[in-house]
């Protein structure tokens, strides 16, 4: 492969400013391309990263986006982990309902991200933070 391999450390992006959102999605796009995703899938993954990074800024003011290739012998893909130490999500079930948002400005948020990716799980604890893990598999 002519594209240099993006090592894992490079794929951890601290999210503190809106510029970091751009960095996270650019890295995600490169990783998706290197992992053999189609251009449409690359855009889906990049858009999901953008929304997850945005949630970090909106709700927790800071956190991290971790991008990893995943391979479980049968299939390979990309895992996007969005971690923050914010207030946590009060009601995860409610947060997964379409159109639900606690932030006034935006937030189709998590249900939308789930549609863009294949799998998504949320771990959250009041006052301690939230970790959203979303995976997309190669077709």
């Amino acid at each position: 492969m002519s594209v240099p391999f993006l090592d894992d450390v490079d794929s951890d992006v601290n999210i503190r400013t809106d510029g970091d959102i751009v960095t996270a999605r650019r890295r995600g796009r490169v990783l998706a391309e290197q992992s053999g995703f189609s251009s449409t899938e690359q855009v889906l993954i990049t858009t999901a990263i953008s929304e997850l990074a945005r949630n970090i800024l909106l709700y927790a003011r800071g956190g991290m986006i971790v991008l990893r290739r995943v391979d479980n012998h049968e299939r390979s893909g990309i895992m996007v982990v969005a971690k923050d130490h914010g207030p946590g999500i009060q009601d995860v079930e409610k947060a997964m309902q379409p159109g639900y948002s606690t932030s006034s400005s935006l937030g189709l948020g998590l249900p939308g991200v789930k549609r863009l990716m294949d799998e998504m799980s949320i771990e959250t604890r009041a006052g301690q933070g939230t970790t959203v893990t979303a995976t997309k598999w190669r077709r």
Partner: protein, 127 residues
């Protein structure tokens, strides 16, 4: 990264050339709204061909531009949303409600010219 806004006849054309930070997009919104008055433009085209991601924030800001320009008495058309980007927007549930869109710059200009000829305004003028 500032987005250039060009005047073409009675219209303004803003062509986004690279991925924008949120702050750049907000700056663009404000610059367009100001220039429409200063240059007495009848219509605005925002060309987003170069954007490979349009997320909830971009959608909201583009929609705000269109609605603000309408309140200023002119029309806005968003052109160049790429097919993959359109797909991602639909998956995410994003809609550009009440905002005109066109395939490309040419179609966008045709749209605005049509509106201009008919003297259409989305906000009725007082008599």
């Amino acid at each position: 990264m500032e987005v250039p806004i060009l005047k073409q006849g009675p219209f303004l054309i803003a062509t986004i050339q690279t991925a924008l930070h949120d702050a750049d997009l907000v700056q663009l919104r404000d610059a367009i709204v100001e220039k429409v008055g200063k240059l007495r433009a009848k219509g605005v085209i925002v060309d987003v061909t170069a954007l490979d991601v349009i997320d909830s924030f971009s959608t909201r800001t583009l929609s705000d531009v269109a609605h603000m320009i309408r309140l200023r008495g002119a029309n806005t058309v968003i052109v160049g949303i790429q097919p993959e980007v359109a797909f991602a927007m639909v998956q995410l549930g994003l809609v550009l409600e009440d905002v005109a869109t066109a395939l490309d710059l040419e179609e966008g200009l045709a749209f605005l010219n049509g509106k201009d000829r008919k003297g259409e305004r989305t906000v009725p003028r007082r008599r």
